[in-house]
Symmetry: C2
């Protein structure tokens, strides 16, 4: 199956002195690339080749950063593998170098806009959705029953409303409400209700006897509509004399909200109103060389255009934290990064989970020499911008630019927390393939390989595998992603997930035990 | 609002020397009961009155067990509150007395039957359901999409099949698969697939790259159908060229199963084939004197009829564990009870959650003098039978009689774990009211007060509030529950939850951290 007619490698960053061989099955010694480079060794697929001679002790640079130093002279065209590299250990969290003096200058990118829904609080939605929040798991089946009826009987009469979402979840009185960490699911629920795509007009269904009362979950001070209009339906209230009554009460309040939301129209807004969350799931050896770098390119464009771009997934960035700290825009951001890593280290320790030996044998045979290189493949999604803010799990992001929103890497949990952080667009890269989607924000899925993009043509929005086959550059796919974000945010194009209505459950991150 | 025409108290157990005043607002000193007892003090609603004179140092008995000793002579008709009782501390887990010599003799109850579906493995279903299991959260939106189509397009052609259920959940590769405690969600998923109401014919939808592979979740050796027929649809398989293909593959396998399940018919089976799970949720001061004792009476009937009856909710029994150990049928059962309590103590400690100070001020003003009395109100659901087995969270119950299936008290989690334990009927008591239901097994909801049963007449199946109003005895309501279980298990009557299709999400108990 090897394409012997065109030998291909990918250089992710201009300063890299190694590149990745992408031909299926690898390439034999003697192979000549278009650039003139000649392979001195056979190089397996997804492994590194030296682009230039690297002298003994010199830095080996990938993703624009040093991933090790040469143990001996490495001639151009050599296979660069773990035996000929020093393996730097990432520094301990308490021994990180201070952030580099702010060397990045953001070059503003102007003139890019999308058509969005402006909310009273200044946030902008890419959709116009009625969100029905819930304080406790006990009401979820009732709310799902009511939402089905609202969608069947009411929504068709309000054509400018995109959807009705039951924000149901498994949080209940079994969570010790004052336990360490219990604030995370509570603020997640609060901030989900405040997501820009819900039009600043959520409503809440409560049971009545739950520990997490509506006023604690979503104080009326958080949105103008909550002080001016009723926003809570309490199932245990005496006025509900049957299940039918409860459903009617939910439907009545839902219709009031639908009337309001239906009056809204999209208006032209600068790209700086976008809040884009980045995530990967089901990664493969190509994720770090095709899909993730292309997303990183798009992330840089978005940051230059003034948007908020968030990256997350603590366990995937943990091993390159020194490199992130070096990108911190301020000392406070550097401290925030360390604080979130420490929190997660302790959380895993409490559960007796080791961060498993990294990289795994599978990673090494896949070409990842060390843990820094592995983490780089994930954080390359974040592009090259300085990091301007750090937010804990479920916190609402308030800083423009590239921010780190701490979340687990687990796909549904990360997505839910990014929605709480106020994400109005999601970009999800995948190598192995996963039919991922969110109800609250559009999800653009980027495949790392053309084979997946072709096989799952009705699930994958962007094929970044063209980078590996030489059909497109990282920049070209990155620009394609950037423009698709603007089109989808404007309602001009629909994602595959939205076409099918393929939407995950919300998954709260609850670090506290349940009783 | 006080009913001055009839003063009422409830004596739960014949040996009790205190009873609970149930009149709204309590009763004044001088009140005369039908029994001739005269109140010496005013007694608040839900508080205790001495039925006989209790001499200084004598035992105060409630629920048939000693809840304390009199600090001074207590005349008949006195209010028995915490100031005049010693407050026994429950013994430490390592200092429990050995189980009492087996004093309980089970008096067999014969001739009670129901109409059930017999499975190949000898278990018996109360419903005939197609269950579609999933290994990983990534496939859940796809499976829910497919199940919606199966229910709309296929199920109507197979009238002897009751339902099609997507067993979706939030477990994914973010859970460290070998972490302590991770076996719990895995065995829960396995045993949910083996629930008797799924006809011994589940199927599994897998993504492909997940850590929890189908063969680990549900080995083909667990059921005959799994060795004789294909049972796995893997979304990442090369043969699926689109989302449409995946959905078609799920539907095709589902239809094979529907053909098989549709040939089954109910047959008459002894009540000993029932596996009844007991739970309470949204309890009030009356739960422990009306609904729970009535369920306890039904539990005794079921155990006498040879059924499996399971009670659960570790944190609600923890403070009366010495009394449960005394009911252990064997030393192994006593050890099992202690083992499960210890496990949970450690789990809560790891999360820095104290078992909160018990009883709360609210409990005390509600009439609960001490932690033993509070726990007794919950475990009275289990009746008086000896405890014949103890099972960890998500384990399949294999012992007849009354068993303790360890679970959190959290309603959705407890229900899911009891289904994994092989429950085919669920009884749920509630005081405050919660619209609870399960898709996999019928749920009979018992209200502790008539006001709730009347207000929620289309959600509550049994009104145990009649015990407080004197309209019925504990025995009468207990027999009513017993007979309703047989009717519902036979498909002759439908529960309120099933009438509305009010079914909770599955909620896995995952004690391990997520990454
Ligand atoms: Ca990832
Ligand atoms: Ca992820
Ligand atoms: Ca659902
Ligand atoms: Ca309970
Ligand atoms: Ca419960």
């Amino acid at each position: 199956m090897r394409d012997t007619t065109q030998a291909l490698y990918i250089q992710v960053h201009p300063s890299d002195n190694v590149a990745i061989v992408v031909n299926e099955g690898g390439l034999p010694a003697g192979t000549v690339f278009d650039s003139g480079l000649i392979l001195k060794d056979a190089v397996p697929e997804a492994h590194k080749v030296a682009l230039t001679a690297i002298s003994e002790g010199a830095a080996v640079v990938r993703y624009g950063v040093i991933i090790g130093h040469a143990l001996k002279e490495i001639p151009a065209g050599s296979w660069v593998h773990e035996e000929i590299l020093t393996l730097p250990q990432p520094p301990e969290l308490d021994q990180l170098p201070p952030p580099a003096a702010h060397q990045h200058c953001i070059d503003p990118l102007e003139g890019f806009t999308f058509e969005g829904y402006v909310n009273d609080d200044g946030t902008v939605g890419t959709k116009n959705i009625l969100g029905i929040s819930t304080t406790v798991q006990c009401v979820s089946a009732t709310v799902e029953y009511a939402v089905k009826k609202v969608k069947a009987e009411l929504l068709p009469r309000y054509p400018h409303v995109d959807d009705v979402i039951a924000i149901t979840h498994l949080y209940g009185c079994g969570v010790a409400i004052d336990a360490p960490g219990a604030e995370i699911p509570i603020r997640t629920l609060r901030n989900l209700s405040l997501n820009p795509n819900l039009g600043g007009a959520p409503m809440v269904v409560s049971l009545g006897c739950e520990k997490l009362q509506p006023a604690r979950m979503l104080p009326s001070s958080t949105l103008p509509v909550l002080t001016s209009q009723p926003y809570i339906v309490r199932l245990q209230d005496e006025e509900h004399h049957s299940f039918g009554d409860m459903v009617q009460a939910i439907m009545k309040m839902a219709e009031d909200r639908l009337v309001h939301l239906n009056q809204r129209r999209r208006v032209t807004r600068p790209a700086s109103d976008l809040v884009v969350g980045l995530q990967c799931g089901g990664s493969d050896a190509f994720s770090g060389v095709t899909a993730n770098p292309a997303v990183g390119y798009a992330a840089d464009l978005l940051v230059r255009a003034g948007a908020i771009v968030m990256f997350s997934e603590v366990t995937e960035v943990r091993d390159a934290i020194d490199l992130l700290v070096a990108r911190a825009a301020t000392p406070e951001v550097a401290e925030g990064l360390v604080r979130e890593m420490e929190w997660y280290d302790r959380y895993l320790q409490r559960g007796a989970v080791d961060r498993s030996a990294n990289p795994t044998p599978g990673n090494k045979s896949g070409g990842l020499t060390n843990i820094v290189e592995k983490a780089l493949g994930s954080i390359v999604k974040s592009g090259t911008s300085p990091i301007s803010g750090v937010f804990g799990p479920g916190e609402r992001v308030t800083t423009k630019g590239l921010v780190f929103a701490a979340t687990p890497a687990s796909d549904f949990v990360c997505g839910t927390l990014q929605l709480a952080a106020s994400m109005n667009m999601h970009v999800f890269t995948t190598g192995r393939g996963t039919p991922y989607g969110l109800a609250m924000a559009p999800v653009i899925k980027v495949a790392s390989r053309t084979a997946l993009a072709e096989r799952w043509s009705d699930l994958i929005d962007i094929d970044a595998g063209t980078i590996a086959t030489g059909k497109a550059s990282i920049q070209e796919v990155g620009e394609q992603i950037f423009h698709l974000i603007l089109d989808v945010a404007s309602g001009r194009k629909q994602t595959c997930a939205d076409h099918w209505g393929l939407h995950n459950e919300f998954a709260l991150f609850n670090p506290a035990p349940i009783t």
